[in-house]
Symmetry: C2
Subunit: 176 residues, 2 copies
């Protein structure tokens, strides 16, 4: 797909078919995650990847009600911040770096015809703590977001196809 069209037509997809996602596509999505910029090129992230239904169910439970789409997903990727790799003078750049990785995954999936939805984790600390326990993560490894992936259920995809809208009043030229 054309790169601009891909960015402008992305929409969240919450209903998935049971068609599996190929391993090579999982790798492309992860490669995209690792191709964004990061603060001082710290690459301060890791990815916990699963296609297993029982694990997807547990991740969904840990991440609260809006994470229900994960239960029917074919792939879930938990983006993790890695504080040991983060920029020491301002480690909270890990939040930005994880976001970049996650958005790259969503765009790469869309280019492959795979739908996805971003499930917020950080800064909702109950979700963060639940996932840390579920996966027994080191203290320096912080759950950031979960992306649920799958081929779109046709009806919901038709609804989902559309263009992000441009809001003139959000643009300030030369001054506030």
């Amino acid at each position: 797909m054309d790169a601009l069209e891909n960015i402008l037509t992305r929409k969240s997809v919450r209903e998935f078919t049971n068609r599996p996602i190929k391993e090579e596509d999982v790798k492309t999505i992860l490669h995209a995650a690792m191709s964004g910029p990061s603060c001082v090129n710290a690459r301060d992230w890791s990815f916990l990847v699963t296609k297993k239904n029982d694990i997807l169910q547990k991740m969904a439970e840990a991440n609260g009600k809006p994470a229900q789409p994960l239960k029917k997903a074919q792939l879930g990727i938990l983006v993790l911040g890695d504080l040991e790799r983060a920029f020491k003078p301002a480690p909270d750049y890990w939040i930005i770096d994880g976001s970049i990785a996650a958005q790259n995954m969503i765009l790469a999936a869309h280019a492959l015809g795979i739908g996805s939805v971003w499930l917020g984790t950080y800064p909702q600390m109950e979700r963060v703590n639940n996932l840390q326990k579920l996966f027994n993560l080191p203290e320096t490894v912080i759950p950031h977001s979960i992306i649920a992936f799958g081929y779109p259920d046709e009806d919901s995809y038709a609804l989902a196809k559309g263009k992000g809208f441009y809001e003139e009043d959000r643009v300030h030229i030369d001054r506030w």
Copy 2:
């Protein structure tokens, strides 16, 4: 450009020619910014856009030493978080939403042949405060990041073209 190639070949560009950026391309970049997901679709961002050299110089000074590429840029966009629009139970999602918008701009620019570099602002509060003063921003409007744009200086672009690398050890299958 192909959407996947676009994501995988993006690199930071810090040297720009003096070729101006067309207005329609600025608008495409901003449309991309507004096409990402945001927490509960809050769209909790705004964009301060300038092509004016004197303003670019002041923004560069306000944002610290790594912001020097802005001084030769043809376009600077300051991404702003809007706390009044943010998700009330967890307003810090504004940090993630601004990051998504910024990464979409960088990818859209790359698709148009325009280079860019992400200049970190938040969470470095001295930079945040300097930019708030410079543009006399309301208290609820928080500087997030600046993206500097321009056509790549040919030599540096040749250097910059490359692929993000895949690190196997960042991927954890089914468990940490």
